[in-house]
Symmetry: C2
């Protein structure tokens, strides 16, 4: 089947999936967990095929590690499915209820977006996670995984389709796109895909954003800042800086640039240098930094760079205003942190720093869907509309306006003898019966 037909089928399935009740969706999620356990030998065998080919093609060790799907990972995926079953159905929630007039009631009711396209890295567990989030939220999904995981993904998608089909979920709701050309083709499917979620390198996400009319949810850069205020606890600042930079260096919520208030620079910078150097972190500093500690110079380019590596840039600032201006100019709107003992100053920082995540006295690394209590996440967004920061089920929802009338016409509410609207808030939600 070609990609357009797969997308068309997903659109058709999405219409019916939107009206499927919670029990059927939860039943399907349980069935998926069962089949993954039952057929684990088939899955592991498929994964060995992928791993073998990847080894022959000399795939780098970290990529091989992500590609590996073990019995333990299958069990983790099943635990994820169990916890998803426990969550409330995000579909059908009444977001507002208003009486416009006698027997004319308006309800804003949550519903799925429709068809979500996800381009994801070579991690087979991501396929299970993303497709189950889409199923729970009533969305059809088109999946394009890394080609390295092709055999595993194919088996997983087939099993998920089989188990969900048995539970009464409309066929075609999950489409796996398998050929090389598919990523390019997917970008033109704006009639049948409502939202694209690319997970991958910055360059890849940017490429997608530049080449499609479909709304894209995601982040290109993650240039995260840590501003150490003059009212900061120095040891706390050091602890947070090390965690933010070193706890996991290759991820979007890792620290890239530190901004240090001039009043504490002479105290903090030598300690910071010692702590970073003990962890093999290269420091690149502004002129004022280099007057206090001997480090490499930072250039204009450093302030714009997401290192994703053991490198940090440091700038001494005259005041919090300069720090905020720097962040708003060079930042990517992902995660920015202030370390300060003054709550009022932290609130001001949060008011004026234009980022998805603005934290006081904790690590940038907390910016994550699981830590935020969202359950699994489909990604992190630096968009300014729809969903921002870690995105869980909620980011896969939109709403419809449902109005229940009894022959009401606008002509009665217009002109000289116009009836007024009551616009009275209703306490009840939308009732299906």
């Amino acid at each position: 089947m070609d990609i357009k037909a797969i997308a068309r089928n997903a659109r058709k399935a999405s219409i019916r999936l939107a009206g499927i009740q919670s029990e059927a969706k939860n039943h399907a999620l349980a069935g998926i967990a069962d089949i993954l356990i039952q057929k684990k030998d088939v899955i592991l065998k498929a994964n060995r095929t992928d791993i073998k080919r990847a080894e022959q093609e000399n795939l780098a060790a970290p990529l091989l590690k992500r590609l590996l799907f073990t019995e333990e990972k299958i069990e983790e995926a099943c635990k994820g499915l169990e916890s998803l079953i426990q969550l409330d159905d995000p579909v059908g929630a009444t977001l507002s209820a208003l009486e416009l007039d006698d027997r004319l009631d308006l309800y804003k009711v949550s519903c799925p977006i429709g068809v979500v396209g996800v381009v994801f890295e070579s991690r087979p567990d991501a396929l299970v996670q993303i497709s189950s989030l889409c199923l729970k939220s009533g969305n059809a999904v088109l999946l394009k995984g890394g080609s390295e995981a092709g055999t595993t993904n194919h088996v997983l998608a087939d099993l998920i389709a089989e188990a969900s089909g048995k539970a009464g979920i409309p066929k075609g709701w999950l489409g796996l796109l398998e050929t090389r050309a598919d990523v390019r083709d997917i970008l033109g499917l704006d009639d049948d895909i409502d939202l694209l979620i690319p997970r991958g390198s910055n360059a890849f996400v940017r490429h997608i954003m530049d080449n499609t009319r479909i709304p894209v949810l995601g982040h290109a850069d993650g240039i995260c800042h840590l501003y150490v205020d003059r009212k900061a606890d120095i040891s706390m600042a050091l602890k947070i800086a090390i965690d933010s930079k070193c706890q996991y260096v290759a991820v979007c919520n890792a620290l890239e640039t530190m901004l240090v208030h001039q009043d504490i620079a002479e105290d903090l910078l030598p300690k910071l240098r010692a702590a970073f150097e003990a962890r093999n972190v290269e420091i690149r500093g502004c002129d004022r930094t280099r007057r206090i500690v001997e480090v490499k110079p930072a250039s204009e380019k450093d302030w714009k760079t997401e290192y994703l590596d053991l490198i940090v840039s440091i700038k001494v600032v005259a005041d919090m205003e300069e720090a905020m201006d720097h962040i708003n100019h060079y930042g990517s709107g992902h995660t920015d942190v202030i370390v300060t003992g003054d709550r009022g100053r932290a609130v001001r920082f949060m008011d004026y720093v234009d980022a998805a995540n603005v934290f006081m006295n904790c690590s940038t690394r907390f910016a994550d869907g699981f830590r935020f209590g969202l359950g699994a996440e489909v990604g992190i967004s630096t968009n300014k509309i729809h969903a921002r920061g870690p995105v869980g089920l909620e980011g896969l929802m939109i709403y419809k306006w449902r109005m229940m009338g009894n022959g009401h016409v606008v002509a009665d509410y217009a002109g000289r003898n116009a009836k007024p609207f009551t616009h009275r808030k209703l306490q009840k939600g939308f009732e299906r019966e």
Copy 2:
């Protein structure tokens, strides 16, 4: 000042405007109302200049009427400002509050999107309405009005900037783009504009959507349907059909296509034809329609056409499934209505019809921000993300994740001896003090 500089200033102003307290914004809105009354002679004079030029250029009568700004319209605009002052500040609302661990609290707090670009028709009252909605919601705004209203818009923008500046609103928050080339230029300003709202013709909105990376909120087509179910009250169906089609024919929420259940077609269609013909509405029918009443034939093209005129297309359908399939295939996701005496069937229609507004037993014409009780509207959206249907203040908002810690680092929550998260819902909102 060139357009890039105006946009850059708006970006800078938006950062400060995001932190401006409610009182200052309401004070500014009151100041704008005052200055519009004080300077009404200047405004009316500017408008006479525009009207005179438009008359010389033989602008069509309906356009002239929209362009006209009278003392009455100034008073209406001031009433709109008064009611906006009464509304709660949409900025700073706590959308969720969660304890992650002892002294580590996460808040999802509403904030402005940033800089909104609005391209609007030649209606000077639209300038007042849009800029005041943006001010209340803490957004900077770049306005591009129709050139016919250039003189009036210039005077209005100056007065609004003057009054808001006196109330302490950061300069540059309102930018008026005045040259012809500006619409094209605005599309490339994706660094400094977060959301574009084009109001105007379908072709114009589509052109904008196709030529910018900036997210666009709006609707291209408004192909609205009325499905008359076999369980419908015939006289109610007639009343709603006439109101939906004729109450205001040139707007996006007017009816374009009727779908009639075969079981009631023989009863309904002759009455429908009489009612429409009495109002000079041309009917184009499918083959089955034409077997019952003598009307012009509808072609495939008719089902895809937004007439915005005294024309309606009618199709007889075998059942509700066929009606819903037709709507999901040909509709534009704007407003679709079912007339039926059976609430369960209406709910099913609402579940499966993929549109922003799905109504039972009332006119399509109710799809409107004022009627929906949203106060003023910035537009109607057929997007599938962010905001859908009539969009008021809420559509101009997004959120930040604000986290308050006390030296918390992720390393403590990872690995073998990982601390668990409490993920306990907090009852309190985010506190500024």
